[in-house]
């Protein structure tokens, strides 16, 4: 989900009618824009990850117009033939292979709209563009650049230009090392010694994608035409971004002119705006949805979703605009049919499958152990699997460390529950004793050769803390809940020497029992003897 804010009056102007708060809250979620909040000025939305076209006011308005039936079918997009070109050098193929360009004429842009345009660009960069690695968008004042253009890879100190927001010339290398955007996005060029550059006819740097535009092309309120430049590593994703921007301005009355992209081996018209064609069988769609819709009803629903749709016998042939990238399979059209009708209008169908329910053996056993422990006077804890240094403090072996913890408190995956429950005791020393705790839960241990290099076990752990807590007490609890458990001598620095044991069932060592070593109690700040056991109940 991506958070965006739409200017409410601009949105309503585009839809062509005023919409109440309730209407907005009803309509926008149907278009996959979940509404967080609506106020006089703006609408705050959460847009789903499959729809970059909805990150813009124009896109959301286009979708809502479809739902309202104000405008249906494929949105109009006229692209005039190219008058100029971009020459793509072959050396760019290894760095950032694709480029799409277009001219957008007849824009009237206010300061607010410039800010909004930048917001849209940033959201697209972050999501659709995968933090600019996959797709980056540059929008320039067309009057300040000269066609034709070239796109090539240059060495770090080969060229210099004044980047946006600066007043002095910088080389590409300088930009990466000193410019704030350069430092933010330097990761895109890891292990690369040449950088992509878009140059105009006079060999001036227009942009250093995906980092920064040249200052000379800055869009202002007096800009009348844009030169759009999109680069990236995924041909279709780049074209989709170009179509999103072009469609937005076309919706607002601007005129789009194509640019020819001359790759070493082929010529491509940019943007490629011919809709994609995909067909769905009426029977297949009805089967998946559980409906009995006619072909015409399906076509109508698809048109409300702003797709072109034509009935062809038992099939509906659809035209998908290029600003959408979420059609991989006809099943994606099935969802569009359901959306066009409205999920809440589809009506539910009572479940028809009948099967017998059951619990896993392990989960049944876990529950009976919990019953037994509670009956033995132990209170159940439900602690976290992620823990801090407790395991080390409690000498419980080597838990696996998380590579990217959110805080040191949650930097290990626990391999034992004893340390975590000791931490619970240490936080409750002001409460009366005896304190008797247990938990049945997951622990993770290394296991070489297993698919996940680890094994997740379900352990039962119990702790008893009071002035007379000792091995015989806790061992008698263990004997009561775990039938057939035998104790064998165990050398361990976790427990008081001679006052601990391995727990063996059959011939298998399943755990430990003993009186916690005073050094450990001291480390946890517990001034009360603690006896404990921990046994493995099963593996999942």
């Amino acid at each position: 989900m991506v958070s965006v804010s739409f200017n409410r009056s601009a949105f309503e102007r585009l839809v062509g009618s005023e919409l109440s708060q309730a209407q907005l809250k009803e309509l926008l979620p149907r278009a996959k824009c979940g509404v967080d909040d609506v106020n006089e000025r703006e609408v705050l939305c959460e847009v789903t990850g499959d729809r970059p076209d909805l990150l813009c006011t124009e896109g959301a308005a286009r979708a809502v117009k479809g739902i309202l039936g104000k405008e249906k079918g494929l949105p109009k997009l006229v692209v005039s033939p190219a008058k100029t070109f971009v020459k793509v050098h072959e050396n760019v193929a290894a760095v950032r292979p694709f480029i799409f360009c277009a001219y957008i004429d007849g824009v009237k842009i206010t300061g607010d709209e410039i800010a909004e345009l930048m917001q849209v660009q940033e959201k697209l960069h972050l999501t659709h563009g995968r933090r600019r690695r996959k797709v980056a968008i540059g929008i320039h004042d067309a009057a300040k650049v000269s066609a034709p253009f070239s796109y090539k890879a240059v060495k770090g100190n080969e060229m210099a230009f004044i980047p946006l927001g600066k007043e002095e010339e910088m080389t590409f290398k300088d930009v990466l090392e000193k410019h704030e955007k350069g430092r933010d996005y330097a990761f895109v060029f890891e292990g690369v010694d040449k950088y992509p550059a878009v140059l105009d006819a006079k060999d001036r740097v227009v942009s250093f994608p995906p980092i920064i535009n040249a200052a000379m092309t800055t869009v202002t309120e007096s800009t009348k035409a844009f030169f759009l430049e999109i680069t990236g590593t995924d041909f279709e994703a780049c074209n989709a971004a170009a179509n999103i921007i072009c469609q937005n301005y076309s919706d607002k009355g601007a005129k789009i002119t194509a640019v020819e992209i001359r790759y070493p081996d082929k010529k491509v018209v940019s943007p490629a705006s011919e809709p994609e064609v995909m067909t769905i069988g009426v029977g297949e769609a009805n089967k998946l949805l559980g409906t009995s819709l006619k072909a015409g009803e399906m076509a109508e629903a698809l048109k409300k979703q702003r797709l072109g749709a034509r009935v062809e016998g038992d099939f509906v042939a659809c035209e998908i605009p290029r600003y959408r990238t979420d059609f991989l399979h006809p099943v994606d059209l099935v969802e569009e049919i359901a959306l066009g009708i409205g999920y809440n209008e589809l009506g539910i169908k009572e479940p028809t499958v009948f099967t017998k329910g059951s619990r896993t053996e392990l989960s049944v056993e876990t529950d009976s152990l919990r019953d037994a422990m509670a009956a033995a006077g132990y209170a159940e804890a439900a602690t976290n699997v992620l823990c801090g240094e407790e395991a080390l403090k409690a000498r419980a072996g080597k838990p696996i460390r998380v590579k990217n913890p959110v805080s040191s408190e949650y930097s290990f995956v626990r391999n034992s529950i004893v340390p975590v429950l000791l931490a619970v005791l240490s936080k409750n020393t002001r409460h009366p004793y005896p304190q008797k705790l247990f938990e049945v839960g997951e622990v993770v241990e290394r296991r070489e050769g297993s698919e996940t290099g680890t094994v997740t076990k379900i352990n039962l752990c119990a702790l008893s803390a009071h002035k007379d807590a000792g091995l015989s007490e806790i061992a008698s609890v263990l004997a009561g809940v775990l039938k057939g458990a035998e104790l064998k001598k165990l050398p361990s620095d976790q427990f008081i020497p001679g006052r601990c044991a391995q727990v063996v069932v059959g011939k298998k060592v399943v755990g430990v029992v003993g009186e916690l070593h005073p050094e450990i109690l001291e480390a946890f700040g517990i001034e009360m003897p603690v006896a404990a056991f921990e046994v493995t109940v099963g593996e999942i």
Binding site: K32, R51, A381, K403, V444
Partner: protein, 483 residues
């Protein structure tokens, strides 16, 4: 009457005895004795007498007089009875120190032991009878001990005090004796039993015995009761619901390869949810292994798509798929189960912990419980999925109204979010959809699969009245013992 009180009463006679004596006789510590005495006195079984008493003992000087004799005694002894001697010579002979000489002479005369004559320029001392003086008698009586001041005549004590031979100490003297009722109470006590024993039952010795009464006013500590955790119990109730609805439980590991957690679920390798901000990775081990056959099918789905699909069209990287992560969705468990092969109709659920990095606050935490469910059968549909969701919302979550909101998940199409009106608020309950054909083809499942993943924590907070999500796994003992 407790044990100490009984012991004390047994040790007392009809005469007053000092507390020290009684302590020695009974073997009770002084403090235990005093508290037992107080209790018995209140019942009128013991009489306690308290007296302030002045004790006298000798100063170091008094002690030396007691050992070596008083200076006047030593002076007169040097002169010896009936004779006379020059004073200076006598002092020397008696071995008196300079300051002792005048004191000796003064008291020898006062006692009537000696007479002083002036013989020209000399002082001559003559001694008569040497009967024991009252000071000497008192010194002997006190000796090395502390004695009551009343043992020495008052005017003698004043002399001793004046001569700095004695010092005083105040003491409370307590003496006790059994009251008239004491003996009878004791006799009754003989037959009282404080604890019934197995032996008594065997031998019948309990018959005719009286059992000791409990003092009901004694404050007893409440027992710290055991019990099951409120959140685990909540989860248990949901499991019961699902089993009763015909679902089979499945469990799965917390550590997964990205392959199981993402790739099998048709999530492209550059999907934002696979970035380090959205999933926990492990340090060591950091890589797992990939199951041979399934890998080929999954790779195919991603790169080419398979039947009727374009796929994601990129070069699928097995190294990325092998990375180990903490499970971020229980859908991984469904994927594992489907990969093992299922025979439709099949319905399963999994309630398990999932992990995702997040800012931690009262409503966000990095570990959470998810309720996963799938239904596998030929002919099932999206409308039937909505039916299941409505059933869950109303039967399990207690929603009064239900809504379906369009959504997106990489592994489902169509996708839907379930919202329910609980109390008077619309609440998000979870996500659902039909597994994508690319995923099912890779898993070799030939029929549709309905799937949902519902978040349990927020719902538990509302149902259980927990204000802070962290309290669901909190460490506070009062919270843990909460019923």
């Amino acid at each position: 009457m407790n044990e100490n009180e009984r012991l004390l009463l047994e040790s007392l006679s009809k005469e007053f005895e000092s507390a020290d004596q009684v302590a020695a006789k009974s073997g009770l510590a002084k403090s235990a004795l005093m508290s037992a005495a107080a209790a018995l006195e209140a019942e009128g079984l013991v009489e306690v007498k308290k007296k302030e008493r002045k004790l006298v003992s000798l100063t170091p000087e008094g002690r030396s007089y007691f050992e070596k004799g008083t200076p006047e005694r030593r002076l007169c002894a040097a002169v010896s009875a009936g004779k006379e001697l020059e004073f200076g010579t006598a002092v020397k002979k008696a071995g008196l120190a300079g300051h002792e000489a005048p004191v000796a002479l003064q008291w020898a005369v006062k006692n009537g032991w000696a007479v002083v004559k002036k013989d020209g320029g000399k002082t001559v001392v003559s001694c008569s009878s040497l009967k024991e003086g009252e000071v000497e008698a008192a010194l002997k009586k006190i000796g090395a001990k502390q004695v009551g001041a009343e043992a020495v005549e008052k005017h003698v004590l004043e002399i001793l005090e004046k001569r700095k031979l004695v010092e005083f100490k105040e003491e409370k003297e307590i003496s006790l004796r059994a009251a008239a009722k004491g003996a009878a109470a004791l006799a009754r006590q003989e037959n009282v039993v404080s604890q019934l024993t197995p032996e008594m039952l065997k031998t019948g010795a309990w018959k005719g015995r009286k059992f000791k009464e409990y003092d009901l006013k004694t404050v007893v500590a409440p027992v710290q009761a055991g019990g099951k955790h409120f959140y685990k119990e909540f989860i248990g109730r949901i499991k019961e619901h699902l089993v009763s609805m015909g679902f089979e439980e499945v469990q799965g590991p917390l550590v997964e390869t990205e392959f199981r957690n993402m790739d099998v679920l048709f999530m492209a390798q550059d999907h934002p949810a696979r970035e380090i901000h959205d999933i926990f990775m492990l340090e060591e081990p950091s890589k797992g292994s990939l199951p041979d056959k399934l890998v080929e099918r999954v790779k195919w789905a991603h790169e080419v798509g398979g039947k009727g699909s374009k796929g994601w069209r990129y070069k699928w990287d097995p190294a990325v798929a092998a990375r180990l992560v903490l499970r971020s969705q229980t859908t991984a468990v469904s994927g594992r189960r489907l990969a093992q092969g299922v025979k439709p109709p099949f319905r399963m659920f999994c309630i398990g912990k999932c992990f995702r990095p997040d800012e931690i606050d009262w409503k966000h935490f990095i570990e959470f419980y998810q309720l996963e469910g799938i239904v596998v059968d030929d002919g099932i549909s999206f409308r039937e999925l909505l039916g299941y969701l409505k059933t869950f919302a109303t039967k399990v979550f207690g929603a009064k109204e239900v809504g379906f909101v369009p959504s997106y998940y990489p592994f489902t199409e169509p996708s839907v979010d379930l919202v329910g009106k609980i109390g008077d608020k619309w609440v998000e309950l979870g996500g659902a959809g039909m597994f994508r054909p690319e995923m099912l083809e890779a898993l070799n499942v030939g029929v549709p699969v309905l799937a949902w993943g519902l978040g349990l924590d927020r719902f538990a907070m509302r149902t259980l009245g927990v204000k802070d999500i962290r309290d669901l796994s909190g460490s506070d003992m009062e919270l843990i013992r909460r019923k």
